[in-house]
Amino acid sequence: MTQAEIKLCSLLLQEHFGEIVEKIGVHLIRTGSQPLRVIAHDTGTSLDQVKKALCVLIQHNLVIYQVHKRGVVEYEAQCSRVLRMLRYPRYIYTAKTLYSDTGELIVEELLLNGKMTMSAVVKKVADRLTETMEDGKTMDYAEVSNTFVRLADTHFVQRCPWVPATENSDPGPPPPAPILVISEKDMYLVPKLSLIGKGKRRRSSDEDAAGEPKAKRPKYSTDNKEPVPDDGIYWQANLDRFHQHFRDQAIVSAVANRMDQPEPASRVNSELQFTFQTQTSSEVVRTMLRMSEITTPSTDPFTQPLSSNEIFRSLPVGYNISKQVLDQYLTLLADDPLEFVGKSGDSGGGMYVINLHKALGSLATATLESVVQERFGSRCARIFRLVLQKKHLEQKQVEDFAMIPAKEAKDMLYKMLSGNFISLQEIPKTPDHAPSRTFYLYTVNILSAARMLLHRCYKSIANLIERRQFETKENKRLLEKSQRVEAIIASMQATGAEEVQLQEIEEMITAPERQQLETLKRNVNKLDASEIQVDETIFLLESYIESTMKRQ
């Protein structure tokens, strides 16, 4: 784990779980697998605090434990999982686009709580949805359950490893830690529950829930004590599936940008909605990806070959293009130099695959190009693209091909060289590597440039988070004051105050203070939006690096 990653993990843990958990978590990330007492000793925190922190971390799947010989339990942190916390809003938004508000809340509850049983999730989500609905309407558990089952069927949520049921009674003392097992086929199996009920609103003591007399309220709390039918079966969000979805989204939008006409302004931007005829090529690719969702594991370099007939049958309903047009599009896609789609055979009207590894490589390269362009200017970008295309170029050749004067070309090359986007390759002419008889060629090593950029992204997000915390801390006093004023105004409105009084209270915050608050809000929003943006870049680069490493 690089220093930048550890710093980022530390900031994330501190923001979401507090300082104690941060201290323990960072210590584990730094030092690897450790038993409980050693952690307490090394970090200087009390044993109880360490226990609390470990419980929280294990609950959120950030730390795993293993039983070693002689009963010692060791805990290990998963740094990459901690970094996923940056992406939680994106997961939740995706669930919203696919399964609307119910799905969104289910995924949100699962992410916030780490793992939960299905009945607990359903109850909580129903309650939350009922809150937002109009008076008198409640959310039925069945509807929420249905959405949950759909999420499980499409693998967006999965079961956590569970304690195996032991038939024999253990003669000796129970093991210090349960060994959790997981089997592939059971991972998405939804238990047969008949959850009957409706969501309940949180009511103040004045109003009652619809029709419930006060006497019934204590009964509600005792419901928790009854044994739940799906006790012990915990669910978590399946982050890999979300990543696969993001990857598909990126590929489809890349194809759309490249091959489709620009969309009309009135088009609604949503994944599964019907698209206009101008978006055919991206629609074809999207269909192919959808067909390979469950069949192809996400780490494969190619999807399974799909025949043209199959694709034709699986196109969205109502999308009426003829078979010949589809074949033309497929041929066009396969011939494209980007090589997203490849033709692997001729049976069934032509077998086509999507070249996932190549697609990720192109996306990573495009990211690099755009970074060079925004950082150094478009002429530098031209040189960069040139070297990418020609693979190896000498100094003189760069000047000639790029049609840029020698001095400037040299300057730009060195700027990119010191930024590690371009590297030098030496090719000796003689065995003794004499420098006067060696070729020095400029080249772009995409993998190492991608790693460098990824490292930089981690640093940027750490900087952004620090700056945001600094800004908030600077204006802490003002923020607290404005919160107090808001609370006072709210309570006064509830008790029915006059306009004049409200005006007076509002004037407690002076105009310059208001402006300061505005500026603060704008800055914090900007910083947050930048974090989200950098996280998207991180996703692309990480996917590319992972895909490349798998192939080696």
């Binding site: 923001e15 779980f17 109880d48 226990k51 420098p435 006067s436 943006q533």
Partner: protein, 299 residues
Amino acid sequence: MKPHLNPRSILQASGDEDDGLHHHPLHFSTLATPVADASMHLSRSHQTWEARRTDANKSDAYATCCTVFLTGSLNTQAPSTMASRGGGRGRGRGQLTFNMEAVGIGKGDALPPPTLQPSPLFPPLEFRPVPLPSGEEGEYVLALKQELRGAMRQLPYFIRPAVPKRDVERYSDKYQMSGPIDNAIDWNPDWRRLPRELKIRVRKLQKERTTILIPKRPPKNTEDKEETIQKLETLEKKEEEVTSEEDEEKEEEEEKEEEEEEEYDEEEHEEETDYIMSYFDNGEDFGGDSDDNMDEAIY
């Protein structure tokens, strides 16, 4: 941040020192190591290379290396600064190890001024950054992010460090319970899935028992008759919740740890007060107190 004597920093604008990914043009480790290749022919170049090698043993590359790389024009006969990183084994002073023309620096060219200090903390941006994504999706995700941040602070998973003891012990401290009792967790994890050693027993119950079972406790300051009645009645309640022998072992363990716990002291004070904790009413919620085991009349 390495000092400016580092040859790398001279051509670098940015100051990242952690990358191991450099393929710096003047990074000569590949050239420095003599290749003892059996197929290497004895040629004129080999002889000159031998000669240079003896030279190099005398020089200490790093001492002279790149104090000032190239001032103004380049003169290959000038004192060499860009000796190899391998400790100067390779080349002698006054000679650069490679042909500068090959990388495009001609003779007599003006080179950029040397870098004498670390790069600035906030380097000036040459180009304005691209605007951030706006629009419905961007704003929704932004609002979601901020909401999540706030929500996570309210969840029981957010562990706040214990409030440090104030300098002077205040009377109200005895009556204000801050934070979860005795480091217990606010939520209930499924203990079947966690290692047994992570379980923290709630010590408040234990405490009541320890005061009864182990008479070594310092005697209470005031032995109110009502207090003993109270104690007996709470003891009745607690005996219904008797746990296994393990608890007793845990108690003894915990007693040793008890001195370290600040909260313990507060709790002990709670025990020693004249008033029963649950009966204390600081006037905020009138009539909401529990009324159990009270022999006194309620006014």
